[in-house]
Symmetry: C2
Subunit: 143 residues, 2 copies
C-alpha cells in the first residue's frame, strides 16, 4: 500500500521535506520468498522454534527485507523512475516480527549539486522506529 502511484518526480519539482510512504505486511510467505532470493535462510527468520529460542523470543523478518522497501520508494515514487541509486546507510534499531506491518518513508533531506539528493529513510512498526538511515540518489532531471 503506497500513498502515490509509480512515476517520476523530477529534480526541478522536488522540495526539501517532500516524502512518500509504503506499508507492507512482512508475512511468513514474504519472509520465505526473501530468504530464497537473498540466500539468507537463517532459521531465526524461517523456523518458529529457532525464533522462540533466540534473544528476540520470536521469528523476525530480515532487516534487509524491511530496508528493501526504501528501494521501492526511491525507484518508483520519490524521485521514482529514472533515479540512480548511489548509496544507502542503514541502522537496524529494533526487530520486526514476522507478520508485522512495516511503514517505510523516504523524505527529501538535502538537494545537492550535480543532481545529488540525500533522502532520510525511516521504517516504523506502529510507533517504533525499526530502521533509520539515509540514501543518496541521482534524481532524474527535466534538463
Amino acid at each position: 500500500m503506497t500513498t502515490s502511484t509509480p512515476g517520476t518526480i523530477y529534480l526541478e519539482d522536488m522540495t526539501v521535506g517532500m516524502s512518500r510512504s509504503l506499508t507492507k505486511i512482512l508475512s511468513a510467505d514474504v519472509v520465505a520468498a526473501f530468504a530464497e532470493v537473498s540466500e539468507d535462510r537463517n532459521p531465526i527468520h524461517l523456523d518458529e522454534a529457532a525464533g522462540k529460542a533466540s534473544v528476540f523470543k520470536e521469528r523476525i523478518a530480515h532487516g534487509m527485507l524491511g530496508a528493501s522497501l526504501f528501494s521501492a520508494l526511491l525507484g518508483e515514487h520519490l524521485p521514482g523512475h529514472g533515479t540512480i541509486y548511489l548509496g544507502q546507510n542503514l541502522k537496524f534499531l529494533a526487530p520486526v516480527p514476522v507478520g508485522a506491518s512495516v511503514t517505510a518513508t523516504v523524505t527529501v533531506k538535502e538537494i545537492k549539486d550535480r543532481k545529488r539528493v540525500v533522502m532520510t529513510c525511516e521504517a516504523h512498526v506502529g510507533d517504533t522506529l525499526v530502521i533509520a538511515g539515509e540514501a543518496t540518489v541521482l534524481a532524474p532531471s527535466r534538463a
Copy 2:
C-alpha cells in the same frame, strides 16, 4: 554457491581478515521475485525495453538484491547463526546486468568491544567492484 556451510563462527574464534563469499546469478526470475517482495517493480529491472532505453542500456538487477547477499553471509556464515545485524552502509558503484553472476564477500575488519564487529562488504561481477560497504554486527559469543 558458498564457500562454507551455514553455522556460527563465535566471536572468540574470529580474526581480522577472516572472510566468506557467496556467488549467485541474478537471473530474470530472481530479479522478478525480488521485485515482488520489495515492491520495487521499477521497469528498469523488469522490462527489456525500459532497460535498453535507460542510461544503462540494459535491464539491471536491484542494488538492494545484490546487497542482500551480505545479509546471507553475515547471518549464515560469518559470524552466522546468532548474529545481530546492527547496521549496513552501501555504495552502489556499478550496475549489475540481469543474468550476471555476483560474488559477495564479507571480511572481518575490526573486532571492537561489547561483541561489536565491523565487516567489510564487497560484491564483484567479474573483476568489477559493484557494491562496497561496511556492516556492523553483534557477534555470538561462547561466553
